[in-house]
Symmetry: C2
Subunit: 215 residues, 2 copies
DNA sequence: CCACACTTACTTACTGGTTAGTAAGCCCGG
DNA sequence: CCGGGCTTACTAACCAGTAAGTAAGTGTGG
């Protein structure tokens, strides 16, 4: 809090443009996460920041643009989290996936946002559909590459398309478990379930037991 | 107005109550499937049947009730499909799951409806959330039971909670693959991907190779 | 066998609510 | 003193649900 002598008004300092934008993005993530994009309104978002919905539009122009920036924002934060640690490859990637699942069990909001937006995105003409499709595509690429690294290490040759199939299955099981966990957290253990499923898929793909130790 | 001679009028006969209800349920399945529950309106549904939205409300009372009946309708149709063939158990159940996946690849609309509603259902207070949660619960029960049957057949004893974990993983991988397939049908093969993933999970659970032959 | 009573299946018209987006102006800080 | 950040006020569209009226059937008593 600034200014003791000058004018010690208890008035809150007006945030800078970038601060406000970040506040709004965080609020929009919460709102779209808990209510979905269509059901979550700009009024909801604005209320969480303490302004009106017109104020939000002043910063982002339209609801669609806000959604796009929310998605980019999520990517930026996720990458920031790995800063310097370079994208892991081989077995390290799968360790990272399990670790993420473990962390996600403590961040229900983010998991919910991801699940809701992903599900919504398969509706006709949804503004996030290309983003989600692209995200899946990139993930499949990275994971199938890691599978190939493991295969090389163990000197097994995989049939054409097998790494991609395994990659799709790994992503699928993670998303699917999140869905079940969101609807009934007691029935599914996110971390151990993810680890078990990934190990199963890798073991079957490589033809030899694969273990993912603690990170 | 009518009446020329006798009454050879080419006038369309008014459908019976039950016919109309079925028409509306089918239309609602398409609408909620392609646009989601919140974004799909009663006007959309009504237009597909050639009546007004008030006509739809005459039959179903409210939008929420319509959704509930759509979900029940889906169950009824699915079960009808298995009529007489009793709910399969043991390896037969997994064969059935793969067969369903193969059929689903030809029924995009239904898969989309299921994916959209499931994703939407994790939003706060969604009218379908208890239905989806219940469905997951029942499926986990049936599949974990089938896993136990397989374990007994092979005389292996499974750790506490292991069948449930495998069941959750099987459901997860099916749902997740559907999502990826909807967004990029060329990147994922629904039938073979499902078969591969289920075999991987069962093999890892039972400690011995499990194959799912053609049904 | 048919007229009258009643029910069913809607339509039209409206209500109250919510939505995204626009326009104009106010106010504060640098 | 001026410009960005915001509010207030508004619009046009759309929504679910209600109410009342109407036309087309169905059942029934005479």
């Amino acid at each position: 809090m600034p200014e003791a002598t000058g004018q010690a008004a208890p008035k809150a300092k007006r945030p800078t443009r970038d601060q406000r934008r970040e506040e709004i993005l965080a609020a929009a993530t919460r709102v779209f996460g808990s209510k979905g994009y269509h059901q979550g309104s700009l009024v909801d978002v604005a209320a969480q920041v303490g302004i009106t919905h017109a104020g939000v539009l002043h910063h982002f122009g339209s609801k669609d643009k806000l959604l796009w920036e929310v998605l980019e924002y999520r990517d930026r934060v996720d990458v920031q989290h790995l800063e310097g640690k370079h994208i892991p490859g081989g077995i390290e990637l799968f360790r990272h996936l399990v670790t993420t699942a473990r962390q996600n069990a403590e961040r229900r909001g983010i998991v919910q946002a991801y699940a809701v937006l992903t599900g919504e995105s398969v509706t006709d003409g949804h503004p996030a559909s290309t983003w989600v499709a692209e995200r899946f595509s990139v993930l499949r690429g990275e994971i199938s590459q890691a599978v190939r690294v493991l295969a090389d290490e163990r000197e097994v040759t995989l049939p054409e398309g097998e790494p991609e199939r395994a990659a799709a299955a790994v992503i699928a099981v993670m998303d699917g478990l999140q869905l079940q966990w969101l609807l009934d957290p007691a029935a599914v253990d996110l971390a151990s379930g993810t680890e078990f499923a990934i190990e199963s898929i890798l073991t079957a793909t490589l033809g030899a037991p694969v273990r993912i130790a603690a990170s």
